[in-house]
Every structure is written in structure tokens, then in C-alpha cells.
Subunit: 320 residues, 2 copies
């Protein structure tokens, strides 16, 4: 057959592999712990073994695969077949893609994991049917993926799409990248959760629903609790979310003014909040964009594929 594709989502905690069919659906998947720290050659062996076992479990073999794709949390240098800046892995310019190519008998494609997930949303998720999409992933940081004319924008050095490292508040909060005031420092899911923790601790308001939801333990607050409290009209949670959305909206309006994509797709943990996130966000973004009186403007949506995006996007990298 050869029309099945394998997608591998390499994470800091686990490696997930899936067999993706022609309809871009996952037929079967399997995962193993990443087991960091680990040598690159050893990790490449582990990935090959996982792929082999997954195929075996479905009575398939390597010859049934048209290609293998992998999403890696770092910058993938296509020319050098290497991975740069994969902090969690301690990889810095390691020829990891070449190592995988030496192991698999079929073509191997690799891309940054956020870009691979964006690619899946573009092909078969909330961006399907569009000509251009920007994915904004709200997680520990703020990741991005820009898709224009059916291609992932990589730029001159494969590093394009670092939407989180756009300064929106000059001289603001320190960012992990060394600058101050980056979108990431205000608009990551982590930043929202931290702001909620701070608010609960400093207000010392036992009345706050958020304080009740976390049973008086602010350290356990997560994004879900915040949205739940907001839905119940909790004033404290509402104020925290409003401040968060104000910053996120600035970043999204900036992106729209620069790129004017057909779709802006919000992914990552917080995207589960769906319309509770989108409605107040749209209300903020719409008056900010330069083209607000244009007939056509970007559609702001949440990601649809969840964790499957990583595997599907990786499997479909061969299309690029």
C-alpha cells in the first residue's frame, strides 16, 4: 500500500507515534516515556523501536509506510538535518534528523513540533479549507506556526514564527529569551495561571470562588479552574482573565496587522475553554485591527485536534 504515514510527536515526557491514514485520521498509536536525559543516538534507536512495535501491533511493516514525520521541540535545521536549541533535550546542533534517516527505510521529515501541530490544524482541523493560517499556541510559552500558500513559513534559518518573542510592552517583564516585555511573558497559559495564583494569595479573599475551587491552595490553580470561576462570575478570576486577554489581544492584533491570515488558530491547553476564551478575545481584537472596516478579516478560532495534532501534523510533513 505505502499510503499510510507515520507521525511521531517527540515530547519532553513521552514519545507518541501514530499511523495516519489517507483521511488524515490516526488508525493506531502508541507511546513510551522519553526518559531524559538521553544520548541522541539512543533516543533515535528508541524512536525506531517504537515505530516498529506500533507497526507490528497492526500486522504492518516498514514497507507499508510512505514516510515518517517527526515533530521536535526545537529548531529543525533542514539543510543540516540537525536540531538546534532543543533545550529540554540538551540538543544544540545535533544531526538528529540524519540519525533517524539512517534508521528508517522510508523518507523521514522533521519539523518543529509547534509548526507540525499547526500544519495538522491547517490541513484537517480548524484551519481546513483556508489559504493561510497563523497558529498561536498558549502553553508554558507562546509558540507559533505561520502557514502561507500551503507552506509552513520557516524563514532564512528555520526560526520564523516565534510569535511569543514579540515585545508588546517595552521594558516590561523579563522573558526567558533575554528581552523584556515579550508576548510570552504575559500571554502564555503559565502567565495566566501565575497571575491567578498571585491574585488569590495577595487578595486573601476567602470569598473568591477561585480560592474555593483550589481549596485554599493557590499553588494548585490551573487554567480550567480559572475559566470555571469566570463562568460563575467570580470577580477575582474575571479581573485576572481580563488583564490576560488584554495582553493576548494586543499580540493577536499585531499578528493580524502584519500577516492578515485567513485564520488565527489558538491552541494549547487554554484552547479547551472554547467560546469562553474566543468571545471576549474577539471583542478585544476586532476594534484593534487596522483593517477592521475591510470586508474580509481573519477568523479567530480554537484548535480542534488537541493532542492528535502533533502526530497528524508530523505524518503529513511529506506534503510540504
Amino acid at each position: 500500500m505505502g499510503q499510510r504515514r507515520m507521525g511521531i510527536d517527540l515530547g519532553g515526557t513521552k514519545i507518541a507515534a501514530g499511523i495516519v491514514n489517507e483521511n488524515l485520521q490516526i488508525e493506531a498509536d502508541m507511546q513510551v516515556p522519553t526518559g531524559l536525559p538521553r544520548e541522541p543516538e539512543d533516543l533515535a534507536d528508541e524512536i525506531f523501536r517504537l515505530a516498529f512495535k506500533l507497526l507490528e501491533s497492526r500486522n504492518l511493516s516498514m514497507t507499508d509506510l510512505g514516510s515518517v514525520g517527526i515533530g521536535i521541540p526545537g529548531t529543525v535545521n533542514q539543510e543540516r538535518e540537525s536540531v538546534e536549541y532543543a533545550n529540554n533535550f540538551g540538543f544544540d546542533d545535533v544531526p538528529f534528523v540524519r540519525m533517524l534517516r539512517e534508521r528508517f527505510p522510508c523518507p523521514v521529515y522533521a519539523e518543529n513540533d509547534a509548526k507540525a501541530a499547526a500544519w495538522a490544524e491547517y490541513l484537517t482541523g480548524s484551519g481546513r479549507g483556508s489559504t493561510s493560517m497563523v497558529a498561536v499556541t498558549l502553553g508554558t510559552g507562546v509558540g507559533g506556526g505561520i502557514i502561507l500558500d500551503g507552506k509552513i513559513l520557516n524563514g532564512i534559518n528555520s526560526a520564523a514564527g516565534e510569535l511569543g518573542h514579540m515585545v508588546i510592552r517595552k521594558n516590561g517583564r523579563r522573558c526567558t529569551c533575554g528581552r523584556r516585555g515579550c508576548l510570552e511573558a504575559y500571554a502564555s497559559a503559565l502567565a495566566l495561571v501565575r497571575a491567578a495564583k498571585r491574585a488569590v494569595k495577595s487578595e486573601k479573599s476567602p470569598d473568591s470562588l477561585l480560592n474555593q475551587l483550589c481549596a485554599g491552595k493557590p499553588e494548585t490553580i490551573n487554567g480550567k479552574m480559572i475559566f470555571e470561576a469566570v463562568r460563575e462570575k467570580d470577580v477575582l478570576a474575571g479581573a485576572v482573565l481580563n488583564r490576560y486577554l488584554d495582553d493576548l489581544a494586543e499580540g493577536i492584533a499585531n499578528i493580524i496587522n502584519i500577516i492578515q491570515p485567513e485564520v488565527v488558530c489558538i491552541g494549547g491547553g487554554l484552547s479547551g475553554a472554547g467560546e469562553d476564551l474566543l468571545l471576549p478575545l474577539r471583542k478585544r481584537v476586532e476594534p484593534m485591527i487596522y483593517s477592521r472596516s475591510s470586508e474580509k478579516n481573519a477568523r479567530l478560532v480554537t484548535a480542534e485536534l488537541g493532542n492528535a495534532a502533533g502526530i497528524i501534523g508530523a505524518a503529513e510533513l511529506y506534503r510540504l
Copy 2:
């Protein structure tokens, strides 16, 4: 022959037309006052007459032209053959491109003027030979043009590339677009000149070289005077320029982190300062960019073509 192209640069003050040869050089040019306010049909007639006279002056006729291109200070809607938001002209969704097409016997192409100028720099100016370029034009505002894979990025509504309307200082200075803290409010040539005027007025330091250069008349200060004073180590002018460059650098670093173009081309009046502008700007931008340790990073250069870019870029729109 038919291999000559005509480029028209429609400005608020004058209309400039040029005949551009196969080597992308202007063979002949001519200009007339725009004479605003003016009805669109009347303006289209004026443009046709100018083109006719220019051809006549070179013993050429319309049949010698492969195409005509025009750069317009507004948003050009390609689908509707119209011009949206050309504030100076009072055009709002006027089918101006169609009006021109009705007059000329050859194909007529139209684009936003800043994008047309960026296109010229990409083809035959400081961006030549590159695969991707972002033009940042420092004038009354901050304009932009993004060129990727040999195409001008228009986005879903032709409005992509509004780099000036990226907020870098949330809740900062009010911008003409309605938001606060846009790059344009800090990094336009106008913003630099205004800051210098304010500084000279408020410091009341007759020692300042800048005060001497303007003969005690701060209202006459321009960009050239500021750079001249900085070259002569004037402290006041140096402080003004440093603050300006800090803001401009934030905007440029943001653009690089998002798009990672091969070339960033600074155009507009201030680009005449050349290395006096580029050296301190590079020093600021380099440590800010996320990919600073990458082998390849954007080259920061100034525009080469000056006013000719408008005509050449318009003439070459047929390539898109």
C-alpha cells in the same frame, strides 16, 4: 518591442511616471502635480494624459508598452479592482484600478505604493538576490512590505504588512489608527523629528549643536540636521536618536522573530543616513533576536533606489 514597462507613482503632491527598460532602469520620466482634491475619473484622465505625453516625448506609443503599473497610497483590493482607505485622496472603495484599465490598451497592475517600492528594492535594490525581504519605510508613518518567495504578501484582504501598527508599548502614545503604543507612534521619521523639536525647546540649551543647526528655530529641524548633530557628538541629539533607535529596534527585532526574512530593508527619508543609522541599529537588534546564535540571520540594510523605487516597483508589478 513591447518590452518597456511604465511605472506610475501616485503621490499626494505629485504624480510621477517613468518608462522602465528591461534592465529595470528608468529611461525617461515626467511628473505633474496631483492637484487634490480631485474626482477619481478626472485623476484617471490625468494619469493617462501624463503617460501619453511621456511616451510622446520619447517618440513612443502605447503599443510599445508591455504593461503599466501604478503604486497608490492606500489599500488596493485586487479582486474588486478598487482602492480602499486612501485617506489623502478621499477614496474609500473607489474602483480606481478599473477606471485606469478602461483607459489603457495594455494590462494595468496596481498595488499599495509602499509595497511597490519594496518590490523594486527586492528586485533591483538592496534586496536583490535574496529570497525574502521585509521593507520598513520610515516616513510620516511607518510603512511596510513583506516579500516571500518572490511574491508580495497581501494577506486575505490586501492589508498585510502594516508593520507600523504593531503595538510595542501597550497603553503608550496614541496612534492615528486608534490603538495606543504602535511602532508608528515612536519610530516614524516624523516621531524622531518631533522628539528632537521637543528636546530643543524644553532643554533651552543654546549650546546644543542641534539648536545652532536650526538657527534657534526648532520648528525647522529635520532628520538630516539630527544626524549631522549626532555625527558631531552633540549630546542632546545623541540622546534623542538613542531613544528613537531603542524603539525602532524593538519593532525590527519583533519582525525578524516572526518572519526571519533574509533582508530587512529600511527605507524612507531617514535611510539616507546610511551607516549612521544602520550601525547603532544593528548593535541594538542583534542581541534582541531569538535566533541570535543561528548561523544565518537577517541582513539589515538601507534602501538603495530612493524615489526611483516607486516608479520601478510599479513598472515591475506585472511579474507578480
